[in-house]
Symmetry: C2
Subunit: 343 residues, 2 copies
């Protein structure tokens, strides 16, 4: 028979309220704390988290909804957040939606039934209206990477416009003017912002934004490869390409390899994320990097503030972080030369 709180009370001579306060992390006098911990040790007492969840209406569990568990950007952030949460006694239940809005909705329902205390979500869906139920239940939701227009909650983003604008400007400075872009689905927040960044860079340099140079992929490796193929077929005069996410960067490189195109001699290339892959490639790739550790830290802080902070009415916050850029050897700095001969 497992020891109960009553056994601890009997053993220590303390009241149930004191034992309960201790177990729920409340203030307990030092001498009582010592007594309780000795009794816990002696009686092999284990807190039944399930029972505790019923009494406190807190399960100390956080739901995490990701579009793909196989996306390095997601796992890097979640590994960090999970660590930080575990240090505070929170477990995480991770759901992978395979970028499917229907499955995302199911995951939200599933986590509601599990009575999670809060939710971290990188949304796949466009509107996320099914999150409203969660928010109206008074449970905090933190969005990662993507904003949802209809949903008012905390959000940690990166500055996607500047990230892409800066990267494309580097290509322009190297003399390129016919710069292709592989961009994500038109209904995903990051894809919209990154596309804006591309247009800003081109327009400010007085270059036309040409439709033939813009191809959409679905943020997967396969999608990146298919988009690269299309881009090359449509644009024999393209001298540089920017790929706007990690998986499509790998896919584009696979296709470039397949087609036998030489980087940077025949095509200059700037990718996105995945530093290790960029270093392993011949030549090393120039890439935009995202501050995954910092994102994780911000998500954790926002969530903990909502879960344990005092100001329950605090206005929702949006944190926007700066991206980085790693210089590789995939950009031909004399891009202008190759096509200037046309004139």
């Amino acid at each position: 028979m497992a020891a109960t709180m009553k056994d601890i009370a009997k053993k220590t001579g303390l009241g149930l309220a004191t034992i309960s306060s201790y177990l729920n992390g409340g203030n307990v006098r030092e001498k009582n704390r010592i007594k309780i911990e000795a009794a816990i040790e002696e009686l092999h007492f284990e807190v039944n988290e399930v029972a505790r969840g019923l009494k406190t209406n807190r399960t100390k569990t956080i739901g995490v909804i990701l579009p793909e568990l196989n996306i390095a950007f997601c796992t890097q952030i979640i590994t960090e957040v999970e660590d930080l949460l575990r240090n505070q006694g929170y477990a995480t239940i991770i759901c992978d939606c395979r970028s499917n809005e229907k499955r995302e909705e199911e995951a939200v329902e599933f986590l509601l039934h599990r009575r999670v205390d809060g939710l971290i979500i990188m949304p796949s869906g466009k509107h996320g209206s099914y999150l409203k139920k969660f928010i109206s239940a008074g449970k905090p939701v933190v969005l990662i990477d993507r904003e949802l227009e209809e949903i008012e909650c905390d959000c940690v983003l990166v500055d996607n416009e500047s990230a892409v604008k800066d990267a494309v400007e580097k290509l322009i400075l190297a003399g390129h003017t016919r710069i292709g872009i592989i961009i994500g689905p038109s209904d995903i927040y990051t894809a919209k912002r990154r596309y804006t960044g591309y247009c800003m860079a081109m327009e400010q340099a007085g270059l036309a934004v040409e439709e033939r140079l813009i191809v959409r992929g679905d943020y997967t490796i396969e999608g990146g490869a298919a988009a690269m193929k299309k881009l090359v077929n449509k644009n024999p005069d393209m001298t540089a390409v920017f790929v706007s996410n990690c998986e499509m960067t790998m896919g584009a490189i696979i296709e470039i390899n397949e087609l036998g195109i030489k980087i940077p001699e025949q095509l200059s290339f700037v990718g996105f994320d995945n530093l290790e892959f960029a270093k392993a490639n011949i030549p090393k790739l120039s890439i935009v990097t995202q501050p995954t550790k910092e994102i994780a830290g911000q998500v954790f802080e926002l969530l903990l503030e909502r879960l344990e902070g005092t100001d329950k009415q605090k206005k929702s916050q949006t944190v926007k972080l700066k991206t980085g850029f790693i210089e590789g050897k995939s950009v031909n700095v004399s891009g202008r030369k190759e096509w200037s001969s046309i004139y």
Copy 2:
């Protein structure tokens, strides 16, 4: 006020036992099922999984312990298993131990307190004695990828010896005799088995197993890069290398790129796992592949049998699956030529 089982009983005119049977997935007559579902809909009844966990002593939650969430091999398997489990109404709580035995032990404790119904673990530790508590509580444990000698439970492995033996034989057939290997930590099951495979191939071909050609890494990208550097420094006459896991394969390629060594002209290369990376590399890498989807399917079946099967005393099973091999362009098939000039 949320609707309760009593409200459903009142609404339908059925007994509580029938309602309970329905909610727990038991057999209920068709006409009663229809009545119950209509009442659930009308009363907005939601099953409180926390409360249900207390009554049935089942939380319908499975714990998953991984050495690293950033290892593609792990996430590929877990994505699959999670899908299969979710279809059966099980949630998963994933813990990442950062390949640290102490953290692994803490994760086991944590999941025990969470009253998970079963555990899937890819062990980081040598002995895993802290799993005994779990097993003696009558909860099923399924090991992935690595056996633990002291622990008697279901286990899904790949045939690591044959995987490496076959790969090294390909290098020998191509004419190579001084074949380096980057192998994992000596206390990890897979590293031991893979090392045996290397020795078997070399010895059966009448080649000496030379210590200078064997360097250990820690199954990380950084470890693979450092091991590659050591191997090249110690063996100027080495003509081929086999790298024995996914992350070290990437690390070795980063280092080869850093050193400016040409594959396959100066060094033939066979790696492990990560098909996409192998395809993106110039030249495409030859690699051993692991059947992650099949592994996931087996883990799921073994676990479900223990959780819901009838034979509770069933002897523990070890499933061993075959690996694959993808031919790239990273092996110089005339390896013999390069060094035959010595004679």
